[in-house]
Symmetry: C2
Subunit: 427 residues, 2 copies
């Protein structure tokens, strides 16, 4: 009975693109690297400032703001049946070194603007609507991706691990959290949310791939999120002086790492599927001097697939290559650690359908698609029905300064999000 009203007012109202664009620019200035790149690392001064900026925006939109012990931020608009499980939406604002302005940000600023759109339309939510800013979707500082959403989803293992986790400067997780104003980051079980806390969770995000742009389709409705895995590898050799140690005497940990990086590429290509990807994004040599043979090498490997078994097969092959390289080069494999090996997640049918309806009612074409990047949605799916909305981005670029989404595409995404939230709120 509410539907017709909703639809009428909704098509008559539009997104405040000007404000939203200004907010995207303002948020991008909280960065530790020069524009146009963005670097915003968990619990840094810039991250704390950016969080304050978001809390102010939430308050300005009339949302009731609260934070949990690790800094997941919740902005709630109470529904007229507040005892029902709320509908939630959100994303992250942390940015890996030298990345862009849109990854995650669109799903936070866009969600707040979706609330504004609904408010301006005169819409009254039945289920409460909640905007969530997730802490540390990116693994930059502590090597753990989706830290906030994993904890929300009740990862006891992670809560334990974080008590003793340190960053590259040997700063512990609780100390880093304290620096950012989160004093209670020692007892992380307070962060866990029981299954059923939300009736739905939906995240708006740039595609981070080229498909929507190439096909000129404004909206992607995500049906599944690819299964990511990450691996840390350490090789050790004897090192020594680059002039004095003759070639047959060497066991160069850096060359072992170089071989493994190329082996990762080979095994991924050998999978035979376009959907298998693998990346060595971190490769560090110790001591890292031009005249010193590397005595240690550290690699971090990311591999993903929409097929979990195929991805795990690649991991197995990478491990075998690491062992063979050690034998051949007489270096030691001092670590081969699968840091995470998450299963893929499927979107909930009811959310997919609500999003499709929203697109149809807004006269926006869409396609169903798979998310090859992972998101906080992957973990929210453990405690809530989940869905995602993708918008096109320039050449599929992400995680670099050239990342870009057009204002019109962002506005379309916000409209679809707003209408989907409205539908889910009333259901």
């Amino acid at each position: 009975v509410h539907e017709p009203h909703l639809q009428d007012s909704f098509t008559s109202l539009s997104v405040d693109t000007e404000s939203l664009q200004r907010q995207i620019e303002e948020l991008s200035t909280f960065s530790d690297s020069p524009a146009p790149s963005v670097t915003r690392v968990l619990y840094s001064e810039k991250d704390v400032s950016a969080r304050r900026y978001i809390k102010n925006l939430m308050a300005h939109s009339g949302l009731a703001v609260k934070e949990d012990a690790v800094g997941n931020i919740f902005g709630r608009w109470d529904g007229y049946e507040p005892e029902l499980a709320p509908v939630s939406t959100g994303s992250h604002i942390d940015a890996i070194p030298y990345s862009g302005k849109y990854d995650g940000v669109i799903g936070v600023l866009g969600a707040i603007e979706a609330i504004n759109v609904l408010k301006r339309s005169g819409f009254k939510p039945k289920r409460s609507l909640e905007v969530i800013l997730f802490t540390s979707e990116e693994p930059t500082r502590f090597g753990i991706s989706c830290l906030g959403s994993r904890l929300l989803a009740g990862s006891q293992e992670l809560a334990e691990l974080l008590k003793t986790t340190v960053d590259g400067q040997n700063i512990s997780f609780p100390d880093a959290a304290r620096f950012a104003g989160y004093e209670n980051a020692k007892d992380l079980s307070s962060v866990f949310l029981p299954k059923g806390s939300y009736s739905a969770f939906i995240e708006l995000h740039i595609e981070q791939g080229p498909i929507l742009e190439e096909e000129a389709i404004p909206i992607g409705v995500v049906t599944a999120i690819a299964a990511p895995a990450s691996i840390k590898v350490d090789f050790e050799g004897n090192g020594g002086h680059a002039g004095a140690v003759l070639m047959p005497m060497r066991n160069d940990a850096g060359l072992a790492a170089a071989e493994l990086a190329l082996a990762v590429e080979k095994h991924v290509l050998d999978s035979g599927s376009i959907d298998t990807v693998g990346t060595v994004g971190i490769l560090e040599l110790h001591p890292g001097a031009i005249n010193s043979i590397p005595s240690k090498a550290h690699l971090e490997i990311d591999t993903r697939d929409i097929n979990e078994a195929r991805r795990n097969n690649v991991i197995e092959k990478i491990h075998n290559s690491a062992l063979n390289i050690c034998k051949k080069r007489n270096v030691k494999l001092s670590e081969f650690k699968i840091v995470n090996q998450d299963p893929p997640a499927l979107s909930d049918d009811s959310i997919v359908k609500a999003t499709e309806s929203a697109c149809q009612e807004l006269n926006l074409s869409y396609r169903k698609m798979i998310s090859r990047a992972y998101h906080d949605s992957l973990f929210m799916a453990r405690i809530s029905p989940m869905g995602m909305i993708f918008i096109p981005c320039y050449k599929g670029y992400s995680h670099k300064p050239e990342e870009f989404a057009a204002p019109k595409d962002i506005a379309n995404g916000v409209r679809v999000l707003a209408l989907t939230l409205a539908k889910l709120s009333l259901s």
Copy 2:
């Protein structure tokens, strides 16, 4: 006519091994990494403290101490014919990250102790004797090896370059020098010494190779220093998200770097000579995040040979490989810079002979050998007859914490240095 007297008193006196060992330990505590490793980078606080320590030792040994504009430190014992060109000896005390206690240090502390030995023996120098501490033999901070000795040898090119050289933190060379108390590091021509400033230069150093230890020979008399070259390489690709960019769309700068590192090894081995070496000691990825395809990779390559043409041929092949990798992987070779490509240096016959005589008179067996590592001696050879004395070190280890030379071997080296200095002083 002085010779018989010299020899008699000399064999009767010995090195103060206890003091010398204590000094080696004390100097090793001026370090920015935990013991047993040593990290002492040019113009750091620890470097400044270590320099003060050496100047105090020099003064304590009755040497007249002075410093030039870049912090080369000279401790002089005036001879009785002070108008003659002095005989000089010395080495460096800077240490690359996570290295050891002996590289360079033995040639500075050992030289001061050689002066003490001569003083206690009652020896009076004819030519003045001078101990030199060279600034930044290691290229750690500004990427330039043998910075102090290159300048002493009159490198106008380097003096110009240093006006605009910055370190990894974007601190300029003159600013860094000012921090260490060297206010005049803008006009570096004051550092140049004319050819003929010394009648001889001789450096005591650990072998940094396994030969003397394996053959149980206490002294190596160096006849030539291998020709070093260093190269900086930068690859650039498009980067992107490690989950979203499919494999055929990638141009991964990190994999280009991995291939080049392996190509360096291949070309060096293909030279067919045991004397050709090549090392990738630095390999850095940008942005350096596990979920980001490397958009930039930086390598620093060191290659050396006792045969200059053969080494230059390896450099040529490395360059061709870099170009081919770029073509194959569709990455850009944004830099391929040969930072230095020095010619080898031959020891002076008269110094070799004086060192051989000293060994014979001290009843120490010796062998002639080539230095595969380079040293300040390589550049002092441009303005002075040059020679080097090597002592054995544990397994040939250097540039790592396990670097070690036995007290007895150090004492032998100091005795040979002292007697050689005495002979050269009288000649």
